[in-house]
């Protein structure tokens, strides 16, 4: 087994990637519909929940992703 194989990416890396991806898509969709209103609005659509909720997901995802990458880098350095 190679050295690279031994260091398994932590779960937080995948959590971050998932939240970033989905949050980013929701945020972009919300922004798009800000300028191109939907044909039928949902209840409380005036609060633009997709924009701020997508933004929060994206931010949380970035935090998880960056911290997990730093942890992997630290582990790799320690193994060397």
């Amino acid at each position: 087994m190679s050295k690279e194989m031994k260091i398994m990416k932590p779960i937080w890396y995948f959590v971050g990637l998932m939240l970033m991806t989905i949050g980013g898509i929701i945020l972009i969709t919300g922004l798009y519909h800000l300028f191109t209103p939907r044909a039928s609005a949902k209840v409380l659509a005036e609060l633009y929940p997709d924009i701020w909720w997508g933004g929060i997901m994206l931010l949380v995802g970035v935090v998880f992703f960056v911290l997990s990458l730093r942890a992997v880098a630290k582990q790799t350095k320690a193994d060397r």
């Binding site: 995948f14 939240l19 898509i25 929701i26 969709t29 609005a41 209840v43 997709d50």
Partner: protein, 553 residues
């Protein structure tokens, strides 16, 4: 029933989730080289990973659709499942039972029964657990198909087979580790995907207090109407809640059900294993914000003719499990709908994966290796685990069709738990804390407890006896009958185990060292700061539990 359409963006999000979980399965396969990797995730997880997985393994269809639907049906009393019906048991597991489980290095709960008692008790429990697990796995499949059918109008059969195939692929690739990874991703998706439903519901209605103002008292309190079953939505007394749910069902599930306990076994050391249920207890207490308040919001909206909100109907009957999907459809625009649906799907698939990963472990270690092939190598056991995964998925597919015929998902779950887990808790409690309990006492007690629970279930179902005979009250719901049946099964198991133990041969004390309190050196953690002690956080958790119960009294 009109299907809710999904936009292109929603489909993209759902597709990304499927790619993610399959990708994780393939990524982790290279790290799965032995049976311990496959069945116990290599015993290297932190307390947080083990703790979130411990909770998430329980966050299947039961938690999401079933609990929200039951809150609509029974009211605030459903919160008992999250508070008195979970927290004391989780903390008891962490503080008192985990030292015996973890220090004996067992690979499964039936494995403990083999060490403490004998092979026949282990096999009896393994078979009943395996049976229960595939049944519960079938519920997850049914619930998933319900969502796909509700939202997209998909064919039931296609929905169940597609989702089952996905779970079969990623669990058979890397076992418990991929199940744990996807469970933690599911945890975040559920919170991000469903928290917003409740938040928007509260905003629309005005405030949390306004929600309680708009529903009858029978649906809005936790304990104050429990002395008279006719005064609460669940038609249950406080005795049924405390003895049946709070004691037997809860302790039976959280301390002996291998599905959840297996996650704590994957922790890297004793402290992490003990911290796992304590960490999980905080998030468990928070879940009612989504499911209970979600159910109450649906109830308030459905009572307001101007809201335009209503639950779906199947064949003239109200489909209570549609409460959460209908709230998502009400508030979420495209994009967020995809997230909400993905959260539900993730809950179902991770729940199913949890059941299957527990099933493959018990089958492989406690039935196959124990009875069929005692000399199996690690590589052979790894292969058998993968075969058991696929077989378990296929069997759960069959059970999914049966689950579809039950009135609500939750009632079905509780019925199964009271057959298997309730008596098992009596066996474990006596086995861990009393040294003179004998192997024959445990075996016959367990058999009598399981048999009596199942017999009572049939007796009530086919009206051989009145429901009120076992609930000790003139009126009772199915849920109340489940609580009381669990209590009687536990009591019968407890009594028979003690009586038979008095007349049968005991195991030598030297064989019980490390397995029974009093014969085991108390394991003391290395000196750690107060803030890292499981005991400290358990006390904090207990205080919050008491505050919640008083606040919603």
């Amino acid at each position: 029933m009109e299907a809710i359409g999904l936009s292109f963006v929603d489909w993209i999000i759902i597709f990304i989730y499927f790619i993610f979980v399959l990708g994780i399965g393939f990524y982790l396969k290279r790290y799965t080289t032995s049976d311990e990797d496959f069945f116990l995730a290599g015993r290297k997880n932190s307390a947080w990973v083990a703790g979130l997985a411990f909770l998430s393994a329980n966050l299947g269809a039961l938690e999401l659709l079933g609990m929200t639907g039951n809150t609509f049906k029974y009211g605030m009393y459903v919160a008992h499942f999250y508070w008195i019906g979970a927290i004391p048991a989780m903390l008891f597991l962490a503080l008192y039972m985990m030292p015996f489980y973890y220090s004996s290095r067992i690979k499964s709960v039936p494995g403990y029964l083999k060490l403490r008692f004998d092979e026949k008790t282990r096999v009896l429990n393994a078979i009943s657990f395996g049976f229960m697990t595939v049944l519960v796995s079938g519920i997850n499949l049914y619930a998933m198909a319900l969502v796909l059918h509700t939202f997209f109008g998909w064919n039931w059969d296609v929905s169940m087979w597609v989702s089952a195939a996905t779970v079969a692929v990623y669990v058979s690739l890397s076992g418990l580790m991929s199940a744990i990874f996807t469970e933690i991703i599911q945890f975040f998706l559920i919170w991000f995907g469903l928290f917003l439903v409740t938040a928007l519901g509260i905003i629309e209605i005005g405030s949390l207090q306004e929600i309680f103002n708009r529903i009858p008292e029978a649906y809005s309190t936790l304990w104050s109407t429990s002395s008279d079953p006719t005064q609460n939505g669940m038609l249950v007394t406080w005795g049924g809640i405390v003895l049946g749910l709070g004691f037997v069902l809860s302790f039976g599930y959280w301390t002996t059900d291998f599905l959840v306990v297996q996650r704590a076994f994957s922790a890297k050391d004793m402290r992490s294993a003990r911290m796992a249920p304590v960490i999980a207890s905080f998030f468990k207490m928070a879940m009612p914000f989504i499911v209970i308040f979600g159910g109450l919001i649906a109830l308030v909206l459905s009572r307001d003719p101007n809201s335009g909100f209503h639950l779906l109907h199947d064949g003239g009957k109200v489909n209570y499990d549609s409460a959460l999907p209908m709230l998502i459809a009400r508030y979420y625009p495209s994009g967020l709908v995809g997230l909400g649906v993905t959260a539900l799907l993730a809950g179902f698939m991770a729940g199913q994966a949890g059941n299957i990963s527990a099933f493959n472990t018990v089958w492989t270690y406690d039935i196959y290796q124990s009875v069929i092939n005692k000399k199996a190598s690690s590589a052979h056991l790894l292969w058998m685990g993968r075969v058991a995964t696929v077989a378990g998925v296929l069997i759960s597919l069959v059970t999914a069709y049966w689950a579809k015929s039950m009135p609500t998902i939750m009632d079905y779950m509780q019925a199964i738990f009271s057959w298997v887990n309730a008596p098992l808790f009596a066996t474990m409690l006596l086995g861990m804390f009393i040294k003179w309990i004998t192997p024959n006492g445990a075996f016959w007690g367990l058999l009598a407890g399981m048999g009596s629970s199942f017999t009572l279930f049939l007796a009530v179902k086919f009206a051989w006896i009145e429901k009120s005979t076992i609930t000790l009250s003139s009126v009772a719901s199915d849920m109340a009958a489940n609580f009381w049946r669990a209590w009687w099964a536990w009591l019968i198991c407890f009594g028979v185990t003690i009586v038979v133990s008095l007349f049968t041969q005991k195991k030598p004390e030297k064989e019980l060292v490390g397995l029974v309190k009093g014969l085991t050196q108390e394991t003391v953690d290395q000196p750690v700061p107060l803030l890292r002690k499981p005991e400290f956080w358990a006390v904090i958790s207990l205080i919050i539990l008491v505050v919640f119960n008083i606040y919603f009294w």
